[in-house]
């Protein structure tokens, strides 16, 4: 790959602007058997919490039209085991590691962040938007004051690592949340997390997901994600990682045009683990053919003249 894909985001140099999204790429190692993960711009690992979490009862996933619902319940090994068991293995691959993390209280958020700040990772991504967990999680991402407070408190304890805050799309006005993050000192924003959805099995009349509701992801949600990244870009100055329904290089360009400096690929990894690598090489080709020297040249250049 050429230099034109190199992407500086929050001062960190990514090989390319294509990062795999939290919760859709495990701890990265699951995919290492099937693709060369060192070719990725970066990996955002499954959301980490202070203690190990078992997640929700089954069923946890359901396909919908051009999308899927999930309510995994933020199952993860906890921050200690992540650092001792997963990270050393992951670090053998030459790619940037973003740690997606969450807590049930501000204290928990701060505590996990403090630990990760000292660990061998590149960047933190704070998930305040997961709609699956009932205790508190939802409140941070759908209340601007809480968004500000948790961001401010986490940012305060971070000495080494940039903080990206991941926004929930399940809000009336995402601009207010983007502003809250910027004002509280966030270094970047990632958007969007999943849309809250539901589906029912008409035969047994039960919800298809044990948790009743789940997060909707995949190509179905891309227009909502594009709109929200656009609104966010027009509101704040910190860089944005665009997420939601990305399947191919054209989607990445579209996110770039509305304001993303880098992107995350989520559900597409399930469809075919080769997709993020294919996106990277296709994007390189597109940029070469169109004389785009760097992905950053695209960022926010949608033409709004009429």
């Amino acid at each position: 790959m050429s230099d034109r894909l190199k992407t500086t985001f929050c001062g960190i140099e990514f090989k390319n602007p294509v990062i795999t999204a939290s919760g859709t790429f495990g701890y990265g190692l699951e995919y290492a058997k099937y693709i060369d993960i060192s070719k990725l711009g970066g990996i955002s690992v499954k959301g980490i919490s202070l203690k190990e979490v078992q997640g929700n009862p089954m069923p946890r996933i359901m396909e919908t039209t051009s999308g899927m619902l999930n309510a995994i319940g933020l199952q993860n090994v906890g921050v200690e085991r992540f650092i001792t068991e997963k990270l050393p293995e992951l670090r053998k691959h030459d790619t940037k590691i973003i740690v997606n993390f969450w807590g049930k209280t501000i204290e928990e958020y701060v505590e996990v962040a403090r630990i990760l700040d000292e660990a061998d990772v590149d960047m933190l991504e704070m998930n305040i938007s997961c709609p699956n967990i009932k205790e508190g999680g939802i409140a941070f991402g759908t209340d601007p004051k809480m968004t500000h407070e948790v961001t401010y408190n986490v940012k305060k304890v971070l000495k080494n690592k940039p903080l990206m805050v991941k926004l929930s799309p399940n809000v009336t006005n995402i601009k207010v949340y983007a502003q809250a993050c910027e004002q509280a000192g966030a270094d970047a924003i990632s958007a969007i997390n999943t849309l809250l959805g539901m589906s029912v099995n008409i035969h047994n009349r039960k919800p298809n997901i044990y948790n009743i509701t789940g997060g909707l992801s995949g190509p179905a949600i891309k227009p909502v994600a594009i709109r929200m990244v656009h609104e966010t870009f027009r509101t704040v100055k910190i860089p944005i990682m665009g997420i939601g329904g990305i399947i191919d290089w054209k989607d990445v360009v579209e996110f770039g045009l509305v304001g993303a400096s880098a992107v995350q690929v989520g559900t597409a990894n399930f469809i075919d683990p080769e997709i993020p690598l294919k996106i990277i090489s296709d994007l390189d080709k597109y940029m070469a053919e169109n004389n785009i020297g760097n992905f950053s040249e695209l960022t926010g250049t949608v033409n709004l003249d009429r």
């Binding site: 099937y34 069923p59 999930n70």
Partner: protein, 259 residues
Amino acid sequence: MKGKVVKNQRLNDKYFFLEIKSEEFVTQAHVGQFLMIKPGSQEYTHDPLLRRPLGVADVHDGKFNLVYMVVGKGTKLLSEFHEGGMIEFSAPLGNSFTLLENKRVALVAGGIGIAPVFWLAKTLKNRGCVVDLYYGGRTVDDVVLLEELKENTDHLIVTTDDGSAGIKGFVTLPFKENVETYDMVYACGPKPMLKTVSEICVNAEVPVEVSLDERMACGLGACLGCIIYLREGDEIVQKRCCVEGPVFDGAKIAWDKLS
């Protein structure tokens, strides 16, 4: 991976038989594994979105077979796949059955559970085992490939719920009568059947391996969507059906916790 669809043949109203050419896949596959297959040929349409998990039903001459039942849009689309076209699929995924040699084994299959059992029967037979297959379905349409199965088993006991083929009744009844004569039991089918088979085996102190089905998104351990539960000592532990399974020790499964 990609392979050419050699055959996509309707067996009856519900079941299809698919043969795909792929040396790459064949050289990697183990008995009991599955794959994730793209139901359509188009790259540019996203409904259905995810690949579908199907058990590997046989492997021979650089080709592999799948047997599938049409239940929803993915399998319907697959059933319309034209022979001669190229189809996309994952590498062989999951663990595999424990393969004994020169023993007496029982295979219990319910409905579409026959898929991985087909290849298992053939393999065990080739390894010198005496292979009895207990194969149950709802109606005559749910028991397929009987000729081929006869060739690869020592006894083939067929049952249907309505008596339209073989013995009328559940497949677990004839199996239970003979369970103690086996060194090992393997089963694949609906969960209630697998649970009963496992209980019969536990009572008879015969080891049992079952192949489980859960909805899957990734098939390789990343999404955590396919959790099953095992009892290990006093603890209930979570396993990913796609990576630590689909084959599990039937004696250990916490049946009441499964979805």
